[in-house]
Amino acid sequence: MTLARRIIPCLDTDGQRVVKGVNFVNLRDAGDPAALAARYNQEGADELVVLDIAASRDHRPTFLETIRRVAAELAIPLTAGGGVATVDEGRAILRSGADKLTVNTAAIRNPQLLTELAAEFGSQAVVLAIDAKRVGSRWEAFVRGGRETSGLDAVEWAKRGVACGAGEILLTSMDRDGTRSGFDLELTAAVSDVVGVPVIASGGADSPKDFLDVFVEGRADAALAASIFHDAIQGLGELKRFLHANGVPVRLSE
């Protein structure tokens, strides 16, 4: 009896439609979020993440409607986020049907936000998203959708974020994101080893072996990917059977 490692498809949206891009740029349309959500729920996803990567205030109501449409398709947990900067915005996301919310840029500007969100909704609902990029001998946490560095050491920021109230870390390697060259195992292990909360590894997934590596060497609790699932390059059932056969505890389809 062991806690299963989770496989999490991610829907990056412009608020309304799923979009895809490499290293956060050159976005193109990849489908309807609710339709993809229904498919992943059926295929054995352990959880789903839906992000508004544009995160502009103008179309926030559109994204909340997208969360409602996605949540309606799911009998598994849903995490949603993008541009959340206040407790009220967090509440709107949870009330729309998400179980957890992600915060990124706003938490770096004001770490107290994590404490306020955790006090209001519980740590289990607060996911700190960190976009990390190799800069010299360390990783720095980037903000504003990866457009600029915060100057913070990503590993140190993860520790501080957890101390402030984050209940989970969604750790994206910007160097690997969209490249399909495997997860950043070193980065994932560096963060997983110093925080006492679950770490979701993100960025670079391609083959089943990449997932095996990030669970074993990267010591991730969950692994997230987008395009390989959207394009059906990788089936969820097949991936989980591979992990199971290689000794990783996973929830196989019912």
């Binding site: 989770r6 949540a71 009998a75 179980d99 909704f121 289990q124 609790d221």
Partner: protein
């Protein structure tokens, strides 16, 4: 038959509603003492903080009606924090009394494990369980919590382990409770909810 969900601001109430609706089980929200007293089956959903839950129930005068209908034999299901509320109190909010339907305190899970205990885990059954009827022994259930009941005497029917064993399912007469989230546990969780409705209504009127 009227199936009521206690409405006090819990984030997972719409999910529980939706999970039951998918099985064509209609529910009503109960936010007043009168509505709770009128329930024929009652579900207490919950996520978040023990102290906040108990204070909210107190402010809305919902404690006495919940205790009354449980004493009257009305089928009751507590989910996650709704399980924890059945106990005398919790380390999460020292001094804040729980419903006290079951004796004992809710404790923090050991910090040697990653917390929250978040994700899909399996159960170890210790007694026959109505809620788990028909489910394979290796089924997975979705958990998201940092506190738990470490024991529940004879009421404990299934345990889970996260460094230490804790109560995952308890059943005593008309009182049922689960630490996991059936509304987020796929078709396995749907079966648990259906089993609860069936157990509370043995003539199958659900």
């Amino acid at each position: 038959m009227k199936i009521s969900l206690v409405e006090y601001g819990a984030g997972n109430l719409p999910s529980v509603e939706a999970a039951l609706a998918r099985q064509n089980i209609h529910t009503e929200r109960a936010s007043t003492p009168e509505a709770i007293r009128a329930a024929e089956t009652l579900i207490l959903p919950g996520v978040g903080h023990f102290g906040q839950l108990m204070r909210t129930l107190t402010e809305r005068d919902l404690i006495a009606p919940i205790e009354e209908i449980i004493a009257r034999g009305t089928p009751f299901l507590g989910i996650c924090l709704g399980l924890q509320a059945l106990f005398s109190g919790s380390a999460e909010a020292p001094g804040e009394p729980g419903l006290g339907i079951l004796s004992g305190q809710i404790a923090a899970l050991p910090p040697t494990a990653k917390l929250p205990h978040m994700g899909w885990n399996q159960l170890r059954r210790v007694r026959p369980s109505a809620l788990l009827e028909g489910l394979p022994p290796d089924s997975y259930f979705y958990f998201a919590h940092s506190y738990a009941a470490m024991s529940a005497g004879e009421a404990a029917v299934a345990m889970c382990d996260h460094c230490e064993p804790f109560v995952a399912v308890l059943e005593r007469g008309n009182v049922f409770a689960v630490q996991f989230h059936p509304e987020k546990s796929g078709s396995t969780g749907a079966r648990v909810l259906a089993n609860f409705i069936a157990a509370g209504n043995p003539r199958g009127r659900a």
